[in-house]
Structures are given as C-alpha cells and as structure tokens.
C-alpha cells in the first residue's frame, strides 16, 4: 500500500449530497398516490379510555381511514422485549412493553389512541379535532420515590407495584471494607438526562406493493435489519418480502433505535390494508412526547476510603425512572451501575437498583445511555472525599487509577452486553497528565487568585471516565469491485452523521489500493446487506469497520491471485495500487482492478471448484466483548456570582479510543458529544407537573445549546490499542457527553467558593435559577 489513508483526516464522501440539498431524508420520500398519517395522542398521563368515536373524522373530505386499537384485531400486540434481562442472580424483571394504540388505558402523555389517514398531512391533522374522546383521568405516577410507596397509583394494574426491575450486583464485600475504612463519604445524588432532540424528528414511509408482494419501509431508524425482521414477523411476511431503508438520518443519538415505535408498527399495516403508500413525519411537539427520553435517577451512595484517599469500596442504591414501558430491559441502569466504577480500582462494590414504572414517556438509551449518571456519582464522591481528606482533586483521582500493568482488568460484574465487565486495555495516568497540562492545572490557583482580585470568579474542574464501546453481537460487510474499477461496500448498520461513508471507504481504500472517493458505501438498506444489528453503543466503527477490513482483505487476496494467474508470476511480485495490479519494477505491466472484476465473472470457461465468481467478499466480525475507551475532561469557567451566568473559558478533552481511523471525524464526534453534555449539565431539563404534563415541550422552552454556549474544545489523544479486534480500535461516539455533569458541578463549586460556603452541588442539570436557589441562604 503506497498511500495510507487510515489515520488521516480524510474529508467526507457524503458531504456533497448534504451540502447541495440532494441527500434523501425521510420526508423527502415522495410516492405516487401517497397518503398521510396523523395520530391522536393522549393529552393526559394516566386515564381509562371510556369512549373513542371517529365517525365525524371519517366524514371530513379527504379523510380515508381512522383506526383505533380494536380495529387492529390480532395485529394488536405489545412490542417485543429488545434486550432481555442479563444473567444476574436474583434479578427481578417485569416485562411490560409498549402497544401500537392504547387500549383500555393510556399510560403517558403522547401515547397514541387513533391513527388517521388522509390525502394530506394538513387534512389528517384537521381530522384529529373531529374525534370524540372520553378519558377518565387517574392519578399519575410521576415521582419515582412516590411511585414505590404503598398506595401509589399503578401504571400497570396487573402488577402489585410499580417495580419494573430490581438488580443487585456485588464485587468483594463492601460491609467488611467499610468497617476498616478511615473515612466514609455519604451523599444523595440526583441526575436527570433529557432528550436527544435530533434536529430531524422521526418518520416512517411504508409502501405495500400488492403485485410484487413486497413491502418497502423507509424509516429513521438506527437498526434497519432488526426492524425488517420484526415487521416481517408481525405482518406475516417472510424477511425477503420486506425491505427497510434507513435513508440519510438527521441525527439519532439513541432514541432512533427504539423498537418498535407504534408508528413503525402501524404504517406498514395500514399500507397493506389500503394498498397505498403512507407517510408519517413526527412534528416537534410529538417528538417531545412520542420519542423516547432519558430521565432521572436518585442515588444513595457511599464511598469508603483510607486516610490517604484510596478507595476501599462503594455502596450505591439507586432508583431509575423507566417510564411507562420497559422494552429496552435494563440497559440504561446497568450502564449506570457498571460505568460508575470508572477508571479506578474499586476493590469492593455493592450496587442495587430499582427501575420504576412511571406515567411518563418511555426511557431508552440516549448518548451515554446511563453512563453519565454513574460517572456523576463516582466523580462527586471523589470530590467530597478530596475536600474532607484535604487532598487535591486531581491527586485523589491519580491515586486511584487502575495501573497500566493491571490490564485486562476484571470488575467481576455483568455489563449490558451480558459479558463480565472487563477492561480490555488502557493506560490511564498519561491521559490525566495530558489533560492537566493542557488546562494549565498547576498555574490555575494563581490565575484564579489574580482574577478574584479583579472581582472575577474562575473555577476549574477535572473529571475522568471510561466508556464501554463496540459491543457485539456482530456486523458484516460486503466489499465488491465493480467493473468500472470502483469499490462498493454494503453494511447492515444505519448511519446518522458519524461519517461511515468515509471511514469504511478509508479502510477498503487502503486494502485495495484505490482512492477513498472511488469507494461507495451503502448503509441501512436491508436489500443491499441482509444481516446486522445496528448503530448503538459506539459500535459502528469498531464492529462494522472490522468487518469491512476483513472483507477487503479477502478481496485483495482474490485480486492478487487473479493477477498472478494472468501474469504467470508469484503474488509476492505484484503490487496493488492506484486501482491496478502491476508487476514490481515493471509498472507498464498492469491490469486494472475493474478488468480483474470482469475476469472474475467470465462469459465462457469454468469458475474453478471452490472459488466464487466476482471480485467480492462478505465477512462478519463479532468482538468477544466490548472495548473500553477512557478519557479526562477539564474545564475552566467564569461565573457571575449575581446572575449565575456561566462562561466556559477553556475546555480540554484528552482521550484514548485505541487506533484512530479518521482524526477529523473523531474530533467531530467529541465536539458534538461535549455540546450535548453541556446541554445536559446546564441548559436542558424536562419539566413535568405532578400530573405528568411536560411543561416545556418546544425548542423555545427546552434549551438546546447554541453556538454561544458551546466553547471551542481542545483535544488530545493517546493510543492504547484494543486487543479485541485486529485494527485495535475502540468506539468514541459517546465519550464527549459522559463526564460533563460532574465537571460543571466541580468547576461551579470552585468558582463560587461553595465548599467554604457549605453548599454542595448534588444534582444535574444545574441552571442559573437553580444555583440561585441553592446558594441564596449560604454565607457570602
């Protein structure tokens, strides 16, 4: 290989279509005869359905159909359980999954009651006002602590409590460790994580082709293969009759992998019934209720330490708000439970959580997927320990880092991928050092004092984290040389901006000696690639990337073999570059890759037994377990002590995600993650009233950070390869978002001198008004 693109900041193949308005997003799908769907959704959080009458709606000109739950007959079924409970002894799990249309009872605001089909979206929405509906409101379960009390209303009345799941995992023996400890830190923490709010909402287009007996579904999903398999089963079709296409998707961040949303289940069914294509595009208001959230956890946590700040053990008991249904099993709270341990040696751990049903929108993973909650608890405990033991905050972290020679490091509990939580590789201390250096940690106290003399309030924060990434089961890729010499790659994952069209092209380009721009990547079309799992848990580049690499290697071998037969020379005497195979030292003796592809599919003669036609290969890759990335964020803020206005003066991320395929794309992932982390820490909060009504369901009231709030991020990298895949890569999609909460809490405390004033920041999100409330009675 003469020109390596692997590891280079290669510009993206997908940009042109996006920059010129030519990329196909879901709402751009236009089909002849297409109808439009709108949903009547519950306006209350918890109620018994007394009556739904759609007859007036059906009389409106342009309305074609309207269906309620009973119209679905046998098709009405609760959705599948996506992730069954992991093999943990003593686990309690009550499976209650979402339904396509509410029957008898509604369990959260926004739960669909009726689907209306009309000639235009305008008419379909008008018709929603024509539906007569009677709901008998029930008390809503909104608060997770209240929801567990005896006498609370029940989200699912066939259960005797609102417990969705209960899990305890332990390592060592915390009680024994605590008995020997010099010091115990004990606090209650509250961490809320909001909604992913991609700028493109969700949408589905379904087209039943009666003549072809074929269903085509365009869907803003992160997991097209699972959607195909599931819908085929529900619709009574075989998988080959269903094609799911995830076109360009305008951001996902987790909730676009929920399966199955009611709209995904209903549109194909209606399309079959009416034999017309149907489109539904979520509006922003619906998005706030109908697309899954992440929300709150309450942790009662304690940490046992030695006098010199070494962790002896941690005990944590927490509640997790699961929302009205639990199709995602325990993924989010298990992530919290596992990720809490961070990059530290924690010899004894005792962690118990209860997932609680509430009358709120479902909770499923959103970038970080519960990892934030755990990291907040750990990092805050360390901060308070540092204060009480009079140790520097960076120093207490350093003392507890897992040493470089301790890998692979076993944590003796089970992770979300059902594998034992084991860190594959890492070298943590240099990451911390680099971050401290970049933020100017040593000089900061002087800087802070100088600023204070001028009346300015500066504060610093440092937070560490690990991120379990790149989990199984597997992904596959088909790499194929076309007769024009271009290379095409197809994989089964969906893509939502992560640059897969470029990073996969880089991998193949290097193996096959072609330009990155000559590699076309197709993702998210089940007719192009049949198998796969999806884009989640920072796994696309790791798992599908390695499959692309394996397939490209096979194609390379095939090309060299064909050329060696042609030239009657040894393969070692051949070079593959610039789209052709030539003989070493005789560049004029060459054959183009495209011609080899033609030769591999001859019109006459026989394909040798044991070989296949075509210059192509399909390979799969399944990592034995997730690869663990790690990092440190550091930040300097300036606070206005009267308005609590916050300005980030400097933001540093140093991290290690193994081998880097494209540093430009990686940096973009980190920038975007940090921006979401900042929103989570200081701007974004879902505000519900005690009846489960979301009070800020618009982008004017739920504040996504703008270019004025998100600072420039300085990046540093170290590389510790993962031994779990041949390329040595680890995922990076969520790293930017994970430790931002504790970083804010720490830096704000520092800026406002809250330790001295006896105020502790034990919750996220914070905001100027919340800081005002928390500090108003504190001494100045």
């Amino acid at each position: 290989m003469s020109t390596r693109t692997f590891g280079e900041p290669i510009k993206r193949n997908e940009d042109r279509r996006l920059l010129t308005g030519q990329a196909l997003f879901i709402d751009d799908v236009e089909l002849p005869g297409m109808l439009h769907a709108a949903f009547l959704r519950s306006q209350v959080a918890h109620a018994r359905i007394r009556k739904i009458d759609v007859s007036r709606a059906l009389r409106r000109p342009g309305v074609v159909a309207a269906y309620v739950a009973d119209d679905l007959g046998d098709y009405w079924k609760p959705g599948p359980l996506l992730v069954p409970p992991p093999p943990i002894a003593g686990i309690v799990f009550n499976q209650r999954t979402q339904v396509p249309l509410a029957k008898n009872k509604v369990r959260h605001v926004g739960e669909p009651l009726v689907i209306v089909i009309a000639e235009s979206r305008y008419i379909a929405e008008d018709a929603l006002d024509d539906i007569d509906i009677e709901l008998e409101q029930l008390p809503a379960v909104v608060d997770i602590e209240q929801g567990l009390k005896a006498g609370s209303a029940l989200v699912h009345e066939d259960l005797d409590s609102n417990v969705s799941a209960h899990v305890r995992q332990t390592k060592g023996n915390y009680a024994t460790a605590a008995a020997k400890a010099d010091h115990i830190i004990k606090r209650q923490f509250r961490y809320e994580h909001g909604i992913s709010s991609p700028i493109e909402t969700r949408g589905v287009v379904a087209q039943w082709d009666k003549r072809a007996n074929q269903m085509t579904i365009w869907d803003t999903t992160q997991a097209p293969v699972f959607i195909r398999n599931g819908l085929a089963g529900m619709l009574g079709l075989s998988e080959r009759q269903v094609r799911v296409i995830a076109p360009f998707v305008g951001g996902g961040f987790g909730p676009k992998i929920m399966m199955f949303y009611p709209e995904e289940v209903l549109l194909p069914w209606v399309s079959m019934k009416l034999n017309r294509p149907i489109k539904w595009i979520e509006d922003r208001l619906e998005h706030f209720f109908a697309t899954t959230h992440e929300r709150g956890q309450i942790h009662d946590a304690e940490m046992a330490l030695t006098r010199d700040g070494r962790i002896l053990g941690i005990k944590d008991v927490f509640l997790h708000d699961g929302g009205a249904y639990d199709p995602y099993g325990l993924t989010v709270p298990i992530n919290s439970q596992c990720t809490l341990l961070g990059p530290y040696v924690v010899p004894n751990y005792d962690s118990t959580f209860t997932q609680v049903f509430t009358n709120l929108t479902l909770v499923t993973p959103y970038r970080g997927a519960g990892r934030q909650h755990g990291v907040f608890v750990m990092e805050r405990l360390l901060d308070f320990a540092a204060h009480e033991l009079n140790i520097d905050r960076a120093e207490i972290r350093r003392r507890n880092l897992i040493p470089a020679d301790a890998f692979p490091y076993k944590n003796e509990i089970i992770f979300q991928d059902f594998q034992p939580l084991e860190y594959d590789s890492g070298n943590y201390e240099p990451v911390l050092d680099m971050a401290l250096k970049a933020i100017g940690y040593n000089a900061f106290r002087e800087e802070q004092a100088a600023a204070r003399r001028q009346g300015r309030h500066l504060g610093i924060g440092v937070a560490c984290y690990v991120e379990g990434t790149g989990i199984g089961p597997y992904e596959g890729a088909k790499v194929q040389v076309q007769s024009n010499g271009k290379v095409s790659i197809a994989t089964g994952i969906g893509t939502q901006g992560q640059g897969h069209f470029t990073v996969f092209a880089q991998i193949a380009a290097d193996q096959l000696g072609v330009a990155v721009t000559d590699v076309d990547v197709v993702t998210g079309d089940t007719d192009q690639f049949y198998w796969g799992a999806g884009t989640f848990a920072s796994r696309g580049a790791v798992v599908a990337g390695n499959a692309v690499n394996e397939a490209s290697k096979v194609v390379r071998k095939k090309a060299l073999k064909l050329a060696s037969d042609l030239f009657e020379c040894a393969e070692e005497d051949l070079v593959l570059e610039d789209g052709k195979v030539s003989i070493v030292g005789i560049p004029e003796k060459f054959v183009r890759l495209g011609d080899l592809a033609g030769r591999a599919n001859p019109m006459r003669g026989a394909v040798q037994p044991g070989t296949e036609p075509g210059l192509e290969s399909t390979q799969y890759f399944g990592p034995p377990m997730g690869a663990t990335a790690n990092g440190v964020h550091a930040m300097i803020v300036e606070m206005d002590p009267r308005t609590f206005d916050l300005k980030i003066l400097k933001y540093v991320v140093v991290h290690d995600c193994g081998t880097v395929i494209n540093p430009m794309i990686l940096a973009g992932q980190i920038h975007g993650g940090v921006a979401q982390g900042i929103g989570n820490a200081f701007y974004e909060k879902l505000v519900f009233d005690d009846q489960g009504q979301l009070l800020n369901a618009s982008l004017a009231d739920y504040l996504l950070p703008t270019a004025l709030e998100v600072p420039r991020v300085e990046l540093g990298h170290t590389v510790t390869k993962s031994p779990l895949n041949p390329m040595g890569i680890k995922g990076a999609g969520e790293a930017g978002a994970i430790p931002v909460g504790p970083l804010f809490a720490q830096a704000i405390e520092d800026a406002l001198d809250l330790e001295r004033r006896g105020v502790e920041l034990l919750e996220i999100p914070l905001s100027p008004s919340r800081l005002f409330e928390l500090t108003r009675n504190a001494p100045g």
Binding site: D28, G250, R284, G497, V710
Partner: protein
C-alpha cells in the same frame, strides 16, 4: 373549514413557478413538497431551529413561519441554488467540507443560507460575530466549532 386557494407566482433560485396553493400552506411545505426542493429542511416548525431558513430577497427568513402566499412576487433562494450552475461549491460549502462543518447534515441547508447572507454583509467577521450570527441555527451534532471555523475560512477566501 373552507379551503381557499390562491394562484401565486414565486421565483425560486431564479426560476419562476406558478402554482395554486391553499392560503394556509407553509412556505417550507410549498418548497419541499409542491416544488420538490426538498433541500430546505424543517426541524421544529415553530421558528426556533433555523433548519428551514431560506433567503427572501436576499434576507434570511424561516420558511416554516411564512405562508407560501406571502412569498408571492418575491425572490426566494434555497440551498439548491447555493452552488454554481456547474456544481462548483460556494466558498462556504467548500469550507464546510474542508472543516468538517457537518455531520448528519440536517441543519446544514439552514446554516448555509443564514451564513452566506451574513458573509455578504460582513466579510471580516470576528469569531464572536460569527457565533452570534450562527446562534439562531441549532445543530445537535457538531458542537458548532467546525462550522465557526468554516465560516471564518470562507470569509477569508471571499475577501480574496
């Protein structure tokens, strides 16, 4: 509700279109679904995200907050018209590509429209001014840094 149609003539990217539209038809829907110019995206339909930004006589407006009938006799420019006729990138498109100023690309058309108009008025912006001008466009993917860099680089190139 009575449906009242209007005959309108609108020029988009220099092409004149004559159509009958309902008075309540949003300009964003009209561009996307009636004219097939789907490059203009909608993210919120309540005027906050900026994804739907187009130029009305050279000034950025939110096409989700206007009715198509209000654009009668005006010049509209959309993302489809930003590149040259031969497909040659506008300096800002080139800079967005060079600086990785887009990920999912959903916010990108609105950002291109807002910021090309901004660059027409300010060829030597400071980073603060760029951020201020950009602050009405939400992007959930990039963290804005690379977009800011792209706008600064485009300004430099446009200054020549």
């Amino acid at each position: 509700m009575d449906i009242d149609d209007h005959e309108i003539t609108i020029s988009v990217n220099g092409v004149r279109y004559q159509r009958r539209v309902e008075s309540r038809m949003l300009l964003s829907d009209f561009l996307r679904h009636d004219l097939g110019l789907a490059g203009t995206h909608v993210g919120c339909e309540h005027g906050v995200c900026g994804a739907c930004t187009v130029l009305l006589d050279g000034q950025p407006v939110r096409s989700c907050l206007m009715f198509a009938v209000q654009a009668e006799k005006h010049e509209i420019s959309t993302v489809e018209g930003v590149a040259g006729g031969d497909g040659e990138y506008h300096p800002l498109q080139q800079a967005m590509h060079d600086h990785h100023g887009l990920q999912c690309g959903y916010c990108t058309p609105g950002i291109l429209m807002t910021m090309t108009a901004f660059l027409e008025e300010n060829r030597s912006p400071s980073e603060e001014e760029v951020r201020e001008a950009l602050s009405g466009n939400l992007c959930r993917c990039t963290g804005y840094q690379n977009i800011v860099d792209a706008v600064m680089a485009a300004a430099k190139r446009m200054r020549g």
